[in-house]
Amino acid sequence: MLRLSATGLGCVRGFRNVFNDLNLQLSSGDALALTGPNGAGKSSLLRLLAGLLRPSAGRVAFEGDTDEGAVAERAHYLGHLDAFKTALTVGENIEFWIHYLGGEHDAAPALAAVGLESLEHLPAAYLSAGQRRRLSLARLIAVSRPLWLLDEPASALDSAGQEMLAGLMRTHLARGGMIVAATHGPLGIECKELQLGRSNQ
């Protein structure tokens, strides 16, 4: 049973106080949706949890861990950009992340899970926007990490894609994973909600 806890988090971007004294707790199987207007700090909070942004106050850690760097190594971050190279094939892109992030699975099943298995040998440059998003999601399937930090994951996906995404998230939660997702619309799964942009708790 894994628990993620963030206590007293503060975030300052460009002399602006985005939020302060934010707390959250997640256990295995929990999903948290971050909502709020643009600029409220949803993306900043995700990057903070991923370790890409340093908080002005507070700390983030998995329960029992004393080393804060461990969160970054046990989390997937899915930002607005899809993090693939157009000069490589679809398969080469996924295989690179498998080797670099330390996954145990092969490329083909991960691509099949997102419906891209027939495109494995094509240059990634040929993919449409929705297919690129799916390629990023394939990375989450190929490498198992307990925490998923997703920044508007459903953007660029059509309704079939959004259903697939919901299915992937449900499977991940059922296996004991955790999800924190910034979103403007419903995610299609059961989740708690954290609204940013008001007076924060």
């Binding site: 990057r47 930002g79 607005h80 000069a87 490589l88 080469e92 080797h99």
Partner: protein, 221 residues
């Protein structure tokens, strides 16, 4: 395949597939060497005397070419964020990218040097000396350039910023590289400047990734 080996293979693949690959640096090197006689005249004796200097300056400028894309390309497509979330220490990740850059840019320059030495009428002994000093010195150029590349990711401005930041730091490498080459040609005192050149390279192998890592952590915020 380990994480860093996968990164090395990926970066080398990208360097070869994107743009002109390794040969762009060599082409630039060739152009710099070709331009020189237009400026100073086709006097073969003069060209032979300053040949090592021309080759060193050409290699230095050509080395810097691919450097500004080193981190910027990853930053632009979001890969840099993920590279920071791997289990390998950031400094080693940065060093691996530097190694890929040296193999695909620096090493071809060293290999092209004998041919370019012919254009400058250098004796075989002189060519050998320049090749050896470039082999020892180009890793330093890459690692020092790493620092500028990491800093310019944060600042998000391109153009001449990277060369302006990096070139002053490469002055010691240039001084001792050319001095060692010239010493080998005249036949005396090669050891001292060459040892210092090697020391500079070894030092930059440590300092470069450390500084670049710190700059990158700032840069992704």
């Amino acid at each position: 395949m380990t994480a860093l080996a996968a990164l090395l293979v990926r970066d080398m693949r990208l360097a070869v597939r994107i743009g002109g690959g390794a040969l762009m640096g060599v082409l630039f090197f060739l152009i710099v060497v070709t331009l020189t006689p237009f400026a100073i005249g086709p006097d073969l004796v003069l060209l032979e005397r300053i040949g090592p200097a021309i080759l060193w300056i050409g290699a230095l400028l050509a080395s810097l070419l691919a450097l500004d894309r080193l981190f910027a390309a990853d930053h632009e497509d979001g890969s840099l964020d993920l590279l920071l979330m791997g289990s390998a220490p950031l400094e080693l990740t940065v060093l691996t990218k530097a190694l890929a850059h040296w193999i695909t840019t620096g090493l071809p320059l060293v290999i092209a040097t004998p041919l370019l030495g012919l254009f400058l009428n250098l004796e075989p002994q002189a060519i050998g000396a320049v090749v050896l000093t470039l082999l020892a010195g180009t890793p330093a150029l890459t690692c020092i350039g790493l620092i500028g590349a990491a800093l310019s990711v944060a600042l998000r401005r391109g153009g001449l910023l990277l060369p302006v930041l990096v070139l002053p730091l490469t002055v010691p490498v240039l001084i001792f590289g050319v001095a060692a080459s010239n010493a080998a040609i005249t036949g005396s005192g090669f050891g001292a400047p060459f040892m210092i050149l090697c020391a500079l390279t070894l030092g930059s192998l440590v300092l470069g990734p450390l500084a670049a890592g710190a700059a990158l952590r700032q840069g992704v915020e």
